[in-house]
Amino acid sequence: MSSFEGRVAVITGGGRGMGRAHACRLASRGASVVVQDILEAEAYETVRMVRDAGGEAQAIVCDVTDIRSVRAELAAMERRLGRLDILVNNAGIGGEAPLEEISEQEFDRMFAVHVKGSFFATQAVVPGMKVRRAGKIINISSIWGMVGHHAASDYCGAKAALLGLTRAWARELAPWNIHVNAVAPGGVITEMVLQQPNIESRMAEKIKLVPLGRYADPSEIAETVAFLASSEADFITGQVISPNGGQTIVGI
């Protein structure tokens, strides 16, 4: 297993759940991590966890949809740390609303966080990656982006858009040896899931849909992210890996 020693990784939405797990895992394998989140206390808590474990971490507190802030903060980090090698576009928001209940404002926010946020964070890190002729972009999609869901069509649409960005960027950035892939998690036990109403009683039902009979811990998704971010995946680009316990098995 390769090390991330000397590499800098940016994780958007790194203050909680899967994003925190990605930050902790990349850091434990040697990366210096930049934890972006809109939630200040959460971002600094992740930074503290990484530092307590002997790793290096910095926080960026801003809204991922605030393009000017994202640009300025990432540029400042790149100057300070000398490089940004890995970007995990993880910041996301949930939802499970039926079509009729999704307002324009909610729709815009959903796409702004997932799609616009990922787009402009990537735009900000790519110039440096092109200069170094190396880079890893990992977009966090979802099984709902692959196969849909009976609600949350705004979320499904945004997560599918991330798969489109993944494939387009994989082609566009390949000449600079920048690898772009997506991770499409299935059921993961995160704060976002646990906040759903009546989640405890619904969990047994949800797990019944998963052939492996369980949801994943965020750390398991982080392992796939870390694999794709590593030199072991240097021939993998434009692909989607879906750790989903067998819940979603789809055509190629």
């Binding site: 390949a174 000449p175 989607v240």
Partner: protein, 252 residues
């Protein structure tokens, strides 16, 4: 370390050359005891020589993977020696670029027997032992051509596509036993088989068609297999990972 394979017992078919050989070496390097199967005694011996030099725990079985009786013997040999089995890498394969008119019945039968029957009956023989393992893994070797087709070798393409069918069915069937089943669909790999078929100039021409501008070394495919064999991939099942340099990106 979640990528560690100490204590795991792995069978790698077609391990006398190319991807299979690289896979046997990498799994052993990460601590697994490995059974090296190949039809070619010289290839198997070459794989074994390095395992021996490195003090790895290994066995060699020389047989034809297309013979179900031989497949059962492979598994029995592993169980006699180690008493358990955790990982099966179904890798044995043959490849010849022929047009449809040039594929006779014998060639057709052989193509399907090696890839499909070999994969099927090796796995069937292994399943009782894999059910006892807490980390059961089946990793099938498909091909980028099974995803995207090819202008020749339709017998090969069909056999590799059948392997995706087995992968997805077994992922569901074996999930209750915590056995994960995934496929790797390699793109261009510089193996002896391909060097023989295309020659160096042929490979150089093909490399120009790959977004990343190169073909990979067998060890890079082995790295994906080693990831899927590890605890880090415990929530991944029924999936296809295609290290192909961006040559093929396909839909969900």
């Amino acid at each position: 370390m979640t990528h560690d394979l100490h204590g795991r017992i792995a069978i790698i078919t077609g391990a006398g050359s190319g991807i299979g050989q690289a896979t046997a070496w990498l799994l052993a390097e990460r601590g697994a005891a490995v059974l090296v199967q190949d039809i070619d005694p010289d290839g198997a011996a070459a794989t074994a020589a390095r395992l021996d030099r490195q003090g790895c725990d290994f066995l060699v079985v020389v047989c034809d993977i297309a013979d179900p009786q031989a497949d059962r013997r492979i598994v029995e040999t592993a169980l006699d020696r180690w008493g358990a089995l955790d990982v099966v890498v179904n890798n044995a394969g043959i490849g010849i670029d022929r047009s449809i008119e040039d594929i006779d019945e014998t060639a057709f039968d052989r193509m399907l027997a090696v890839h499909v029957k070999g994969t099927f009956f090796t796995t069937q023989a292994a399943v009782p032992a894999l059910k006892q393992s807490r980390h059961g893994r089946v990793i099938n070797t498909s091909s980028r051509w099974a995803l995207a087709g090819h202008d020749r070798a339709s017998d090969y393409v069909a056999a590799k596509a059948a392997i995706l069918g087995l992968t997805k069915a077994w992922a569901r069937e074996l999930a209750p036993h915590r056995i994960t089943v995934n496929a790797i669909a390699p793109g261009g790999v510089k193996t002896a088989m391909v060097r023989h078929n295309l020659g160096e100039t042929g490979i150089a021409a093909e490399e120009k068609l790959v977004p990343l501008g190169r073909w990979c070394d067998p060890s890079e495919i082995a790295a994906t297999t080693a990831f899927l064999a590890s605890d880090a991939a415990a929530f991944i099942t029924g999936q296809v990972v295609s290290p192909n340099g961006g040559k093929t990106m396909v839909g969900f």
